[in-house]
Amino acid sequence: MAYAALNSSPAVALGLRGLRRQFPTLAQKINGQPLVYLDNAATTQKPLVVIEAMERHLRYDVSNVHRGVHELSVRATEAYEGARESVRAFLNAASVKEIVFTRGATEAINLVAYSWGRANMKAGDAVLITHMEHHANIVPWQLLRQELGIELRVLPMDERGVLRMDLLDAMLTPEVKLVSVAHVSNALGTVNPVREIIERAHANGSRVLIDGAQAVAHEVIDVQALGADFYVLSSHKMYGPSGVGVLWGRADVLAGMPPWQGGGDMILSVTFERTVFQKPPARFEAGTPNIEGAIGMGTAARFLMDLDRGALADHEHGLLTYATERLERIGGLRVIGTAPDKGPVLSFVVDDVHPHDLGTLLDRAGVAVRSGHHCAQPAVQHFGLHATTRASFGLYNTRDDVDRLAEALHHAIRVFR
């Protein structure tokens, strides 16, 4: 494989060749062709350090956490709480008490809707989201609307997939108790001006939740500098295992929230008459958690922190720019989502070729992309579409991968014309 990109500085700083060897999944052929994995916005591959950390736990340290006094329980608890500290450092949160482990970003949003939403909202109040949200940041609020009679407001976007910030202040009325916005759009790649949104929302007295699922693998997140009230993320989109994620909540906000699920580990004492709940984060982690998942996520956070994040962002942005230039030269291809500030996500449609057929033909060439509505149907319908094809880049992708994508696209289009 030719690594032309290795001559340019960001890739050198990353040690791209060595990094790729960290990801065993990449070293295989699919349909007779070396795998080109471009579905990183759906999920990322896992590096050896993550696989080995989880394996080590499963081989030698299995025990429940926060319970036994025996050696294995001590080891498992230290590893689980160590993972919480890793995620705290990754997000630069003020305290590990602000890090709640969940099943993922989706569950984290549901937790906020169920706990914070029910305790702080009533009929007539409003949640403001945007037109480009993932279903995970739409449906929980619709469920709350059904239950409480709240209003769901949607900040529009323009034809590039950029939020209409000029309309924000008019929509931020006193009824808006919460603004819940994607940091980076999974379907379009748009990086939203979250800092400005947070400032204006706070000036209105609204709380702010930022869905960071598509952001954390690509840019350094400092929740204290951002100043939101909640930030949610999924491990599997940042090179960790699936089934685990995090709700970061500012300590004073979490402290005022009631539990959302009851069970073991979230209580101080239980009698049949009365139960006293733990403080956060334990209050929100009922039952035995995903221990090996959390360990994997913590390791993935350390793995990312050990990289030159600036060089990583430059590398991925370089791939997006190169891919956009190459694909825009293909006749009949239209890029969907042309915001000036984008994460490494490239959505597109091709005249006369349905995204699903494109996805199958690219797969035959060993190129893995996503086709469909990307769990963001309103965002895709905004462009008059039902589906797009999406190539999304991760730290291990190369310019060679982009070339393979472009070649496979040319071939697929020839089949249909």
Binding site: H354, H356, D357, T360, L361, R364, G372, A387
Partner: protein, 146 residues
């Protein structure tokens, strides 16, 4: 050519120039099929008179496989009895899900045989047939490919 076991010329032809596309409003039986995975939608409308099918048409949007499958279906079941159409639908669904070893007796529908080797695409090929079955059974609910 890669993928040509799936995208045979007959499929590409029916995808490019679907037959009997655009629903008529005077049909006696109609049903809508929806694939939540990819957002493909297909509506199937048919006239049933004395137990015989006529004027079968489909509408909607979808990939080449789902469009071609719907188009081929309208040609294959036109003039058949309800029982014959339902029996054919079962055979095609068995074919695309790999439960049937060969496409003997299925005529042009043999081109759908390759779909069984693409598990992620079986639902595309099955969608219109599910909608036809729902229409003939008089089910008014949206049928999904799940």
């Amino acid at each position: 050519m890669m993928g040509d076991d799936l995208y045979q010329e007959v499929i590409l032809d029916h995808a490019r120039r679907p037959r009997n596309k655009g629903c008529m409003c005077d049909s006696t039986h109609c049903a809508q099929g929806y694939n939540p995975l990819c957002g493909d939608e297909v509506k199937v409308c048919v006239n049933v008179s004395d137990g015989m099918l006529s004027c079968i048409r489909f509408d909607g949007h979808g990939c080449a496989i789902s469009t071609a499958s719907a188009s081929l279906m309208t040609e294959a079941v036109d003039g058949k009895s309800v029982d014959e159409a339902l029996a054919l639908s079962r055979e095609v669904l068995d074919l695309v899900t790999g439960k049937r070893a060969n496409a003997e007796g299925l005529g042009k529908l043999v081109v759908l045989e390759g779909v069984a080797r693409f598990p992620s695409r079986v639902k595309c090929a099955a969608l219109a047939w599910h909608a036809l079955e729902a229409a003939l059974h008089g089910e008014s609910d949206l049928v999904t490919s799940e």
